[in-house]
C-alpha cells in the first residue's frame, strides 16, 4: 500500500466518529494532566519566581494571562477556519463539529485577552482602551467569533449552519495576519511582538520560561474543553447508530 493511501485511510479512520470518540478519551486524559502540571508550574514561576520587570514592576505579571490568551485566540480561530474549510470541501462531519465547538472557547480566550489587556493598560499606558490598529483588529476578532456563534444558532439544520459558519470563518481569516503584523505595519500604542526573532527573545529567560508553561497550559486546556464538547455532539449526531446505543446502555450500567 502506498504511503498516500495509508495516510488517506488513517485520515478517514481518525475522522470516523466512533474511532474519534474512543481515542478522544485517551487524548483528553493526557491533556488534563499536562494542563494541570503546566498551570501549576506557570503560575508558580510567573507569580512567585519571576522577578519584577525593570520598567513595569510587578504589573507585567498580567502578561502570563494576556499573552497565552491572545495567542490561543488566534490559534483557535485558525483551527476553526481550517476545520470549517475541510468540512466544506470534503463534507467530513467531525471537522464541522470541531469547528463549531472551537468557537465558544476561542471567544472566551479573545474576551480574556481584551479584558486583561484593558486592565493592564490602565496603570501602564494611562488608558483602558485606545483605538490603535492592534486593539481594533483584535476587537474585530471578538466580533467574528460572536458572529460565528450567532450564525450557528440561527440555522435549524446543523450541516447548513456548519457550511455558513465555515464561509464566515474563512472570510474572517484575513484578519489574523492583520492582527499579527499590525504592530509592525502601523505605529501603535501596543508594544511590538515579543517573538519577532526566535533566537533573540526580548523577554528575559527568568520571565520567559513561566510564559512558555502558561502557553502550554492554555493549549492543553483548549484540547480538554474542546474534546468534551466534541464528544457530546458526536453522541447527539450519532444517537441512532448501534454503537452509540450500545454505549448508552453501558453507561447506564455504570451509573446505576
Amino acid at each position: 500500500m502506498s504511503l498516500y493511501k495509508k495516510c488517506h485511510r488513517w485520515f478517514h479512520q481518525f475522522a470516523s466518529p466512533k474511532y474519534f470518540y474512543d481515542i478522544s478519551h485517551i487524548i483528553s486524559k493526557y491533556a488534563i494532566v499536562v494542563c494541570i502540571i503546566c498551570f501549576i508550574a506557570g503560575l508558580y514561576g510567573g507569580l512567585i519566581l519571576a522577578p519584577a520587570d525593570y520598567q513595569q514592576g510587578d504589573s507585567f505579571r498580567i502578561m502570563y494571562v494576556h499573552v497565552p490568551a491572545a495567542w490561543m485566540a488566534l490559534f483557535v480561530y485558525v483551527v476553526m477556519a481550517v476545520a470549517g474549510g475541510i468540512g466544506l470541501i470534503w463534507h467530513i462531519k467531525l471537522a464541522e463539529i470541531v469547528a463549531r465547538n472551537s468557537a465558544p472557547i476561542g471567544a472566551s480566550f479573545t474576551f480574556l485577552a481584551l479584558v486583561s489587556g484593558a486592565i493592564w493598560g490602565k496603570p501602564m499606558w494611562g488608558a483602558y482602551w485606545v483605538w490603535d490598529a492592534r486593539l481594533t483588529s483584535f476587537l474585530i476578532l471578538f466580533f467574528l467569533y460572536l458572529g460565528y456563534i450567532a450564525l450557528q444558532s440561527a440555522f435549524e439544520d446543523r450541516r447548513v449552519a456548519a457550511r455558513a459558519g465555515a464561509i464566515l470563518a474563512l472570510v474572517g481569516i484575513v484578519n489574523i495576519p492583520i492582527i499579527h503584523y499590525s504592530v509592525e505595519w502601523w505605529s501603535t500604542l501596543h508594544q511590538g511582538s515579543i517573538i519577532s526573532q526566535i533566537d533573540k527573545p526580548t523577554v528575559h529567560m527568568s520571565m520567559l520560561i513561566p510564559l512558555i508553561f502558561m502557553v502550554l497550559a492554555f493549549k492543553t486546556f483548549y484540547v480538554t474543553s474542546l474534546l468534551i464538547r466534541v464528544r457530546t455532539e458526536i453522541l447527539e449526531y450519532e444517537s441512532n447508530t448501534s454503537w452509540v446505543k450500545q454505549l448508552l446502555r453501558d453507561y447506564k450500567n455504570v451509573t446505576n
Binding site: I89, W125, G126, V171, H204
Partner: protein, 151 residues
C-alpha cells in the same frame, strides 16, 4: 469538474478574494491607520491643523520641566531626528519618564508647541529584571530599542 474540486475552487477563491480586498482597503487607508505621527511628520506639516491628532516619540533626557504651582509639565518629544515641545496639565501614567516612548493627543499651537490633552505611555517589548537592566547599562550596552518607538 467533480463537485469536490468545485468546492476547493470556491474556498480558494474566497480566500484569494478576501486577501485582495484586504490589501486594497489597507493600502487605501494606510495613513488613517497610523495611531500617531512622529515629530518629523509634524514639522513637515503632514498633520491636521484644525482638529487634534496624536504625536508619538521618546521623551528627551533632561527635558522634563514641572511647574511647582500646578500639575503643568513640559517636555521635549524626539524621534532622534526632530524635536517638538509638548505641554500637558494632568496626571501622567506610571511609565512616563525620560527616555520613554509616549503618545500624546492634542493640538499644535501657533508657536509649534504641542498642547496635549492626554498623555499615554508606550512601552516596548523588552522585559527583564532590574539587575539585568542595570548590568546592561553598566556594560555600556544600550537596551535594545523597540523598532517603532524611535520610528
Amino acid at each position: 469538474m467533480t463537485p469536490r474540486k468545485k468546492r476547493i475552487v470556491i474556498v480558494c477563491s474566497i480566500l484569494a478574494g478576501m486577501a485582495l480586498a484586504a490589501t486594497l482597503i489597507l493600502t487605501a487607508f494606510e495613513k488613517n491607520l497610523l495611531y500617531f505621527y512622529s515629530p518629523t511628520q509634524v514639522i513637515a506639516g503632514e498633520t491636521p491643523t484644525e482638529r487634534s491628532f496624536r504625536i508619538g516619540g521618546l521623551v528627551l533626557n533632561d527635558s522634563v520641566k514641572r511647574n511647582t504651582d500646578n500639575l503643568e509639565v513640559s517636555f521635549v518629544l524626539t524621534d532622534t531626528v526632530n524635536e517638538i515641545t509638548v505641554t500637558f496639565e494632568g496626571i501622567l501614567p506610571d511609565l512616563f519618564r525620560e527616555g520613554q516612548g509616549i503618545v500624546a493627543n492634542g493640538k499644535l499651537d501657533a508657536d509649534n508647541v504641542f498642547k496635549a490633552e492626554e498623555v499615554l505611555a508606550k512601552h516596548d517589548e523588552n522585559y527583564m529584571p532590574p539587575e539585568v537592566a542595570q548590568a546592561l547599562e553598566d556594560a555600556g550596552a544600550k537596551i535594545p530599542e523597540s523598532h517603532d518607538a524611535a520610528q
